[in-house]
């Protein structure tokens, strides 16, 4: 009755994913230290002992989540930059997608919280800290370049592009924080409130 190696591997991967998924919810809410490995195991529907067959330690789970978050975020940012689209529309698309992501699911807001905690805390695992220091600048740099391109076209306000990029990402992170606190009650503000930080006013109307 032995299953094929492929099926075994698939089940193993699914278990791993389940652990990561539930760990994210707990870490984002309570932080690395206050999250008990027994809670993760319970939510993932397995015994505490079995969890150690998938990850060496709590820190390894945490680090894996940080790694995944940056991989996806940076790939999305670079993908956005590569689109064949006017800079101003790229900014609008990014804000729309990000706010939608925050509004609709818990996952995105959790990822933001996790990264914020990891960036601040002194007890962040070394490997997670390394990933953070190497990769956390990418989205800022991407948005700054897009804004600069828009300034050359005259569609983006002439403020310092680096400062506007900080305003862009801190606004998003602030909204994610808000979502993490208020959960389902959260209603995102109209996207146009945010875009007005960056877009030159149009003389014509829509």
């Amino acid at each position: 009755m032995s299953r094929s190696p492929e099926l075994n591997q698939k089940m193993r991967d699914e278990r791993r994913e389940a652990i990561l998924h539930h760990a994210l919810g707990l870490f984002a809410a309570n932080g690395l230290h206050a999250t008990k490995i027994s809670d993760i195991a319970e939510r993932a529907g397995m015994s505490q002992g079995l969890l150690y067959h998938y990850f060496r330690s709590k820190e390894e789970i945490y680090t894996e989540l940080i790694r995944g978050a940056f991989e996806r975020m940076n790939a999305a940012a670079l993908g956005l930059e590569a689109l064949d689209m006017p800079p101003r529309e790229k900014i609008e698309l990014a804000l729309t997608q990000l706010v939608k992501g925050i509004e609709e699911g818990e996952e995105f807001a959790r990822m933001v919280m996790l990264n914020a905690q990891a960036g601040i805390s002194e007890v962040t695992p070394p490997e997670a800290r390394r990933i953070l220091s190497e990769q956390s600048g990418v989205p800022y740099a991407v948005v700054e370049r897009i804004l600069r391109a828009g300034q050359r076209e005259g569609t983006i306000k002439p403020h310092d592009a680096g400062e506007m990029s900080v305003a862009f990402w801190t606004a998003i992170k602030g909204l994610a924080l808000h979502k993490a606190v208020y959960g389902a009650e959260f209603r995102a503000p109209d996207i146009r409130i945010l875009t007005s930080m960056f877009f030159n006013e149009e003389e014509s109307n829509g």
Copy 2:
């Protein structure tokens, strides 16, 4: 050689303040659980045992910090609202002061982090949770009222005032988060990037 009761009380208060001050730095960085009472005692320059003469438990210190943060924040918000000043200038003043507070010291950003954690975490002490649920809405409501008054004057954009208030505070919290991560490297964006979310464009120039 017995000191006066007044002097004794004063020294006692100063010790208490020192504990609270150092605890805030640690809690904001690492959270309630990951902060060791021995670390707080060490930074405050006293033994672990002595700390228990000033506070019953770690949770009590935490709750006291939350209480103080809301007292000051809500007093400041209500004070701002009571000023004899056009609504638009109140918003500008508030943003200027808040951003300056974030930029210049660690204290303000730490308070924001503490409140964010407390709002999210499931292990937040019950009393702290009570304070949060009773008082966290005040600054949002104040800003919303000021924005509404500005809309009646025509100086504030006609977006939903509640949504703009959320945009206001999440932008501030996002900046505080950023400061908490980047510390001394942090440079605040030009205040005008933020005000453009709320202010109607002026036809005349300055």
